[in-house]
Symmetry: C2
């Protein structure tokens, strides 16, 4: 396929490189910021950097919009492609319908369910790709494309993709924040941060093998009030973390007592 | 060493088996519940199950107290060992001093920093063991013992062990709860729970390589208010999760704006 990337951030960069590696041609890279599109274009074999959203002169099969969620609507309005070109976005939270503004295009979604960082390569063979399209023919073409990137390709509606995205916020964004707090507390106590790595790895491995609620451990689920109060006192200089500690403890206890009641019933 | 295990739960079981494997003799296993001590004793080569805390007739080198945090003080009061026997507990949250009640013993702590489940073997070679003792000679002996179990042995004071335990609650107990919520939300949407596994693995791998606060992603750190409000609305049937979503989002935003201000300064 002959492809343009609209966007030059982490998602656009990793996708462009993976697509090229799989034999597709990335013909153009758009960014509002010239240096960003040039940076990415230089890392690709045949790509032109552009600041224009008029792609009429390119003979594109596909334009991939990989910009921030809040910029998709505005990009979609300005994008110009030949009639029949597939235009897809890569967002977990935005519906397919947001692309209705792109004149003449066949619209779809190609959402790689992974976290992308500038500095770290992405293994697309381990990355689920969720697709959606406005019609069956477009869906088939997106599916073929997605399968060149990953063996895990699912068709998921806009509504279900939103639910998946919400779950991902808990499992990844919020989990990452807790790991950050944990690391900060270790550093404050001058303890080596690596000490917790085996415990974190085992916790995650276990949570993926079994229902995490069934293997919950710690002072909250044991209702160990002495330890809980000591921990809250130790967090006096971090009122926000103290509040989180309390809310998470309450949520664990509520969940567990609900689970126990349902076992009795 | 000739060792008694006081307790027959997950920690006691995994420790007893690992100690035996490394050539130590587990001579006795105590539990208040006869069937528990018998279950564990049957899995060991030479252990007697007992309901008595009088170990005077055993020629022990070491008694390991591996009972719940709230039971340690009461067990310590009742425990009878020959003068000079080392008595240690295995708790992250309890101080060394809680063992002062054991008459005539040399006291210490041997805290394996790992999460233990009945059904899953523990790789002690990947488990940090934190030790503490009332005197240098006892510390040396506990260190020698710990090193037969794991290459990662650290001497950590009661106070620092408490800080480590608090960090572990955030990194493991609370993280596990969030993974449980995530899984529940996926199940409610009839989405396969495996879909998020690659994202979870990558999130954790990244959080152990870099400061998680530096690689935070998601709607909270992007201040994407539309998505945040949509997510809160989707959680209307889970008021406790909605509250957690809000508090975690606020904490991420507070952290990030503090980080940005300090960059400006």
């Amino acid at each position: 396929m002959k492809i343009a990337l609209v966007g030059a951030g982490n998602v656009a960069g990793h996708l462009a490189k993976a697509l090229e590696k799989m034999g597709h041609e990335v013909a153009a890279v758009y960014s509002r910021t010239r240096s960003h599109s040039e940076d990415l274009a230089h890392q690709l074999a045949n790509a032109t950097a552009t600041e224009s959203l008029n792609f009429l002169s390119y003979d594109l099969d596909l334009a991939v919009i990989a910009v921030s969620d809040t910029a998709i609507a505005s990009v979609a309005k300005q994008l110009e492609v030949k009639p029949g070109t597939i235009v897809c976005h890569t967002s977990g939270s935005q519906p397919l319908a947001i692309l209705a503004a792109v004149a003449g295009a066949r619209t779809g979604v190609l959402y790689p369910l992974q976290t992308f960082s500038r500095s770290k390569a992405v293994d697309f063979s381990q990355t689920p790709i969720l697709i959606e399209a406005e019609d069956e023919a477009t869906l088939q073409q997106l599916q073929q494309l997605a399968k060149t990137l990953s063996p895990i390709v699912h068709q998921v509606s806009s509504l279900l993709r939103k639910h998946l995205h919400l779950s991902a916020v808990f499992a990844c964004n919020f989990t990452n924040h807790l790991l950050g707090i944990s690391r900060e507390l270790l550093s404050e106590a001058n303890l080596p941060i690596e000490l917790l790595h085996p415990l974190i790895q085992e916790t995650i491995a276990k949570a993926m093998q079994q229902d995490p609620f069934q293997v919950q451990t710690g002072p909250a689920v044991r209702h160990d009030q002495n330890v809980i109060e000591e921990h809250l006192a130790m967090l006096h200089h971090h009122p926000a973390y103290k509040e989180l500690y309390l809310k998470l403890t309450q949520s664990i206890q509520a969940k567990h007592s609900a689970a126990n009641s349902s076992k009795i019933l």
